[in-house]
Symmetry: C2
Subunit: 439 residues, 2 copies
């Protein structure tokens, strides 16, 4: 994309309303704009990052055997009356009357709708187990939305729902999803720690939150070094196989026997028993939450499947949420410096920026066009008529993993400067070497 013609409105000043780093940087780098309180439009480079994260979440859900579908944003209140949650949910639920005065709502979560789809469709234990997920916009009418996309009202969430014939099966599904989450975070370049959590309005008796480590995180976290030593692998690799119950058990033991807690639940007595060299502390941000709640919804909604003996069985359910739009903010909190964002390669909006330091100089223009032609839409070509300082600052702010800096002296000698954003390392190389390194 040519920056001179692109819709990437960067800002020089720090917006006064933004209290945290990711909010400031997302506004300044032109990733999002607020269109109403806690509601954001995702501008081109912000949307690229959102879609890149969404795709990694999707691939890891698919690899774990979950099937993707899409439930609508607007739901009927009737199902929520069946489950008993309509009155309970409170003011965070956006309640709507349609033109026929029927009670509707903007889904804050989807246990009721998925249970309804399931009860219409699955009849026999032969079709079990099932894990179904979607990646859809949700609305929670926060009383005081803040921190940009970290606590917005309209947000993108991946929510999965598992259906099993019994408790033992449900535990296997729960472990699969936990592993899928750890793989997802690892691919996003994040360090994540699962922590025992309260079940809240979803109900149930087993629940974990996933906390991402970031120096600017909202809570203090204490954890054992073990979490940093595990290679969770990506789909198809790593030490754990979804099809192997023993692997899943071993993985779950690792995740649950090692100490991990936020300051709210921190247990100083237990912490004191851990060897000092194993203790880790940091700040963290919650980005995901998983629940096992058995028949909490399948009983009131009358969901049954026929067991091997023909008798109806209420399936045991779990639900598994990760905040996809929140992850964009969390990644920035975990990976930025004073100059701007530092995108992990896996989710960067562009692999590289090409900085033309002297537009109109034949050698600069020619070299830039030649490099840009090789990358096409995966590079951002800064072809603006602007000072070099502005281009350096904007490239650092936007956080492209690589910068290819093309100045008149180097260009005349057939050389460019290649800068790695994460380390600040700069080398003078030929255009071919630059292209090869960027990959």
């Amino acid at each position: 994309m040519r920056l001179s013609r692109s819709f990437i409105p960067t800002m020089k000043e720090t917006p006064a309303e933004a209290q945290i780093a990711s909010h400031r940087l997302m506004l300044r780098a032109g990733l999002v704009r607020q269109t109403a309180a806690g509601i954001y439009a995702w501008l081109p480079i912000g949307y690229r990052v959102l879609r890149n994260i969404e795709q990694i979440v999707r691939e890891e859900q698919d690899a774990a055997g979950a099937q993707e579908l899409l439930m609508p944003t607007i739901q009927s209140a009737d199902l929520w009356r069946e489950s008993g949650r309509y009155e309970d949910y409170g003011k965070e639920m956006l309640r709507i009357k349609d033109r026929h005065d029927r009670d509707m709502l903007y889904g804050p979560t989807n246990e009721e709708v998925i249970s309804d789809l399931f009860r219409q469709s699955v009849k026999s234990y032969r079709e079990m187990p099932q894990i179904l997920y979607h990646i859809q916009w949700k609305f929670r009418d926060e009383v005081r939305p803040r921190f940009g996309v970290m606590r917005g009202r309209e947000f993108l969430m991946k929510d999965a729902y598992s259906f099993d014939m019994d408790h033992a099966g449900a535990v296997v599904s729960y472990r699969k999803m936990m592993l899928a989450y750890m793989r997802t975070f690892q691919r996003l370049g994040l360090k994540a720690i699962p922590m025992v959590a309260d079940t809240g309005p979803i109900g149930g008796d087993l629940s974990h939150e996933f906390i991402i480590l970031a120096p600017t995180g909202e809570s203090q976290v204490y954890y054992d070094a073990a979490f940093e030593e595990v290679d969770y692998g990506t789909s198809g690799t790593g030490g754990f196989n979804y099809a192997d119950a023993g692997d899943l058990h071993r993985f779950f033991e690792l995740m649950t026997t090692n100490y991990a807690a936020t300051d709210e639940k921190h247990d100083e007595a237990k912490w004191a028993t851990i060897a000092p060299e194993r203790k880790r502390e940091g700040r963290g941000i919650e980005v995901g939450h998983i629940f096992y709640f058995g028949t909490r919804y399948t009983k009131p909604l009358g969901v049954t499947v026929a067991g091997p003996d023909g008798k109806p069985v209420h399936p045991e359910m779990g639900s598994y949420g990760v905040g996809v739009s929140r992850l964009v903010g969390a990644v920035i909190e975990a990976s930025h410096d004073e100059a701007g964002i530092i995108w992990p390669d896996a989710i960067a909006p562009f692999k590289a920026a090409i900085l033309n330091l002297k537009r109109g100089d034949a050698a600069c223009d020619g070299l830039c066009e030649q490099i840009y032609a090789r990358f096409g839409s995966s590079a951002l070509y800064d072809d603006r008529e602007d000072r070099a300082g502005v281009k350096f600052a904007d490239a650092d702010l936007m956080g492209h993993p690589w910068q290819v800096v093309v100045g008149p002296r180097g260009a005349a000698a057939g050389k460019v400067e290649l800068k790695r954003r994460a380390t600040g390392e700069r080398v003078e190389v030929t255009p071919e070497e630059a292209i090869a390194r960027i990959g």
Copy 2:
């Protein structure tokens, strides 16, 4: 995907509420389920098709130079008061009060929001022109939703918005989008005819609808054979280049000088002047609508950019909509038979179905697994313990472009039957030949 474990609830009976072919077939083949009046959940194979269509729409928008972003579903009423449309829009707009009693709405279209984003971001003629688009769910509270996803309340639409410095520029943008649409429909395997249209609530003085030919279409259409003779090309190919104003002019002349009208606007006198061998008639379905409306929104919203002389100019706008979820229905209306759907290759949920006619037969099981391993998630393996007749019927119903039929006699001889859904043609081939033909 293994059909025995997949969430694809097919139905043997024709649902009573479905009046048109696409609605019946989408329910029967397990593509969608209604969750509230005019609101649908997209089940796994339906969602695959929706995403395939969405991706083709996206690629052709990108190729035309449009930039993707994402505006939220929930909007503030304030902007609609600025444009003067809040009171006018009527009961199709889903109006919402949030917890602070602010007037919100579920966006039925996005002229106001995009104009607001544009006025915050683009300051100079140097950054012009701009075409911005998003693919987002919309809500229109139809008084009587019907025909499945063809006239639902919550629907997926691609809407693009162009901003130009003057009328001449706006006309170029309009032609680019028209070409992008014809390329999109061609890639989807559809015959489309652009027709002069009324501008309705969007306003403006130039507008075209795109009508897809389908034997079960809602209106009668009359058109010149010329529309069937043009090769619109796909991005990067074909006789028309987006960067060449002459090409765009020639394309637009072709689209607008040849006769085309629905029965509502049919002009018998003009029709009589067309040579009989050039006359074409058929049934059609509207799937897209484009508008040029100049400064209809930029004036009331006070959107300006500085011209070359420094003076503020109200940009000239156009908007360009295509019903992405509606297209799923339209494709089925255009491509089905009594047995079921016939998916065009470009958007099929799976390339092929593999039909195991005798589960438990070592040769059948082995051959099926071998072929399935080659295709992975791009094939649907019917591994159910069911009669061959059920498998044939479901494969025809679901409309996979190819069926690989593996029966015990053939399998013993190392042969399979390959069936092409569109033609019904069947050939006995080796598994390798089948794999090669499916591609």
